[in-house]
């Protein structure tokens, strides 16, 4: 009888402990990864490879997502705002939502699914086939070789992608506004320009840096600690994507709170 009551409590306790433990381990992993940024040797080629993987190969998905999101925003805004005869605010709403929220968050989620998963799978495979141990025996620090370049690539590439996503999202909204809702091109662009604030864009880019680091961090961390063959690598990949998505939304809230509530 008491068991039935205590089991949920025990579960909750255990879950809390495991969250605390993972947070601590992740933080230590991040600190170790970042600490190699300043100490040679620097693996410029590896940074470049993973930067290209992040930025260049993610462009198509990110671009398509952003255009459609901008289009949907304009369309939804027009149906919603027409009730208040406030259609003129469409441009305002599109640019504000894209730069503050949707540009960074959608980009990060797409990139987490694409790059974070691949990262966890690659590093996980290296772990279970002893390649990470082999690095150590060949005078190479695996954290420096595998993790640091990816953290840096994430922190630089994701903001660049977000700039593209912001522009294309606004462009998507513009398309719908001009072609479907009958706005004049000049008025729409002027509204967009007038309503765009530096804080919106900057906050979005700061979010992007954090999200980029999170994606690399979780991809590397889960891959690095995977064990038990192909199954373990699969599990690492899944948890890399799930955890980075959850943390992206979590930090999105924290950062929004930090930037916009005073």
């Amino acid at each position: 009888m008491l068991d039935v009551l205590l089991t949920p409590v025990a579960l909750l306790g255990r879950a809390t402990l495991s969250v605390c433990r993972s947070t601590g381990q992740l933080t230590l992993f991040l600190i170790e990864g970042l600490s190699h940024l300043l100490r040679p040797p620097f693996y410029v080629r590896l940074f470049w490879q993973s930067f290209v993987e992040f930025a260049y190969f993610s462009l198509p998905v990110v671009a398509l997502t952003a255009v459609f999101t901008g289009m949907v925003l304009a369309l939804q805004a027009s149906t919603g705002l027409s009730r208040f005869n406030a259609e003129s605010a469409i441009a305002n709403l599109v640019v504000l939502s894209m730069t503050r929220e949707l540009g960074p968050v959608l980009t990060a989620v797409m990139v987490a699914g694409r790059v974070g998963a691949a990262m966890a799978a690659q590093i996980g495979t290296m772990r279970v086939t002893d390649q990470i141990d082999a690095l150590t025996t060949l005078s190479t620090n695996p954290m420096k070789y595998l993790v640091t370049p990816r953290l840096l690539a994430g922190a630089i590439a994701v903001p660049l992608l977000v700039v593209v996503a912001d522009i294309l999202g606004v462009f998507g909204g513009y398309l719908v506004a001009i072609l479907k809702l009958g706005f004049s091109s000049q008025v729409y662009l002027k509204n967009t320009y007038d309503f765009m604030t530096r804080l919106d864009v900057v906050s979005g880019l700061v979010k992007a840096v954090v999200f980029g680091v999170l994606i690399s961090l979780l991809g590397c961390y889960n891959g690095y600690r995977s064990k038990g063959g192909a199954e373990g690598v699969g599990a690492a990949t899944t948890s890399a994507v799930v955890a980075s998505c959850v943390l992206i939304f979590f930090f999105d809230y924290i950062l929004t709170e930090a930037f916009f509530t005073r």
Binding site: P41, Q122, T125, M126, T129, D130, Q131, D133, A134, L135, T136, T137, L138, S139, T140
Partner: protein, 263 residues
Amino acid sequence: MSPPVAAKPTPKIRVSNLCKAFGDKKVLDGVDLDIMPGTSMVVIGGSGSGKSVLLKCILGLIEPDSGVIEIDGVDVLRASSAEADAIRSSIGMLFQNGALFDSLPVWENVAFGLLAQRKISRKDARGKAPEFLTPVGLAASVGELFPAELSGGMQKRVGLARAVAAKPDMLFFDEPTTGLDPIMGAVIDGLIVDCVQSLGSTALAITHDMASAARIGTNAAMLYQGKIVWEGAADQLLHSGNELVDQFTHGRREGPIQMELRK
């Protein structure tokens, strides 16, 4: 085991009372092993007896629970990590499954240690690859392939080329001939002996293959239930007089070693 003679030189590698458990499973339970400079030690033992774990402990890839590991007289478990790294960087290792970097072409795999130690440039490394590949019987053209394009035996040979490329002072081999045909096995053994002799290195090899053990080793030891149960000259393996070794080397089903269900 004979008691130590007074004026013995310091062993290249000395392992004493090494213990390592995973969970409640004791894998190493007080291993003592001395390897003298310039000798080749072969460790035999059943599958799952902890041979790979022993090697990884010496390499610093697994942290043992207790015990002492001395390399060239330095206690690597208690030395500063920079010092331990420096000592361990003079160990070349051939992993059980090759552990080639599958994102890098063969030439870069082979030259990896030299590149990491800045002993050659990338441009030279590519040109020099045949120099490392020919001794292990691989054509220069193999240098441009990726590990996934090689057969298992070729991967082993590339792994061997990579392990010896930086001319290490100590060489570790984890089952160098498992999964190879007998002729290729003999060829690899020959390569190992050549490498060890030409480099003057100290070697530690793990094997299940008695023919291979006899070819590679000058000394041999058997690991059983977490301890070294026998140590002697490699050519004594087949007539050691030790029941455990006898059963193992002759592959008999009856004897003191019973097939255990592995947890």
